[in-house]
């Protein structure tokens, strides 16, 4: 966990400065997410493609790893789209607006009903960025 505590932002904070910090945090969060995918994929594809490490990666191993990464993304997109269809919505995480009622017929294949997950009225909270200023 980060050693940084909440940065002090004086109450008279310039709006442009606050935007700069928000922008930075958003970029870092996106970068972290991307790197998370890379790390996970590297492990998965290493397990799939490399049995015994040699003095260099064979062309078979190299192709396998590249294909593995690309097909994993393809597979994820395929699964998400198909699950969304089966669930009965455009988006698997679709959130009804204040005036809408959850559709009950036909029920979503993945949860038995169509609507946001029980207990969530808001978009799923993203893990707080470790450097995000803590209020209070």
């Amino acid at each position: 966990m980060s050693s940084f505590d909440a940065p002090d932002m004086p109450s008279g904070q310039d709006a442009a400065a606050a935007a700069e910090v928000q922008q930075f945090l958003a970029e870092e969060q996106q970068r972290a997410a991307m790197l998370g995918v890379v790390s996970k994929l590297t492990v998965t594809c290493w397990d799939t493609c490399v049995s015994k490490p040699g003095s260099k990666l064979s062309s078979w191993e190299s192709d396998c790893i590249s294909n593995c990464a690309r097909r994993f993304i393809d597979a994820s997109v395929f699964i998400l789209n198909r699950a969304a269809k089966q669930q009965g919505r455009h988006s698997l995480l679709g959130r009804e607006g204040p005036g809408e009622r959850p559709q009950l017929d036909p029920p979503g294949l993945w949860t038995g009903w169509v609507g946001p997950a029980a207990g969530t009225a808001l978009p799923p909270a993203e893990a707080p960025h470790p450097l995000m200023p803590v209020v209070g």
Binding site: S3, F4, D5, P10, T42, V50, I65, A69
Partner: protein, 80 residues
């Protein structure tokens, strides 16, 4: 540590330090992953010390793993 973000210089320093910390964290995780994976591949019959063969295997494994990671990054970059 409570950095002030009042001045542009303060913010620059904060961004720089934050990125460095994120980079350190990434490196730490990567090393841990390599250690786990390469131990599994190379140390199949743990003896009373690390043999030359095991060390050589670990060295190769580290290098190959990093190459694999580079391939993954490239594949994702060129993915539509």
């Amino acid at each position: 540590m409570n950095p002030s973000l009042a001045t542009p210089r303060d913010r620059e320093e904060f961004f720089r330090a934050a990125r460095a910390e994120a980079s350190d964290q990434l490196l730490q995780e990567l090393i841990q992953t390599v250690a786990d994976k390469c131990f599994a591949k190379c140390i199949t019959k743990p003896g009373s010390s690390l043999t030359g063969g095991e060390s050589a295997c670990l060295a190769k494994c580290m290098d190959r793993f990093l190459e694999a990671r580079t391939l993954v990054v490239k594949a994702l970059e060129t993915q539509q």
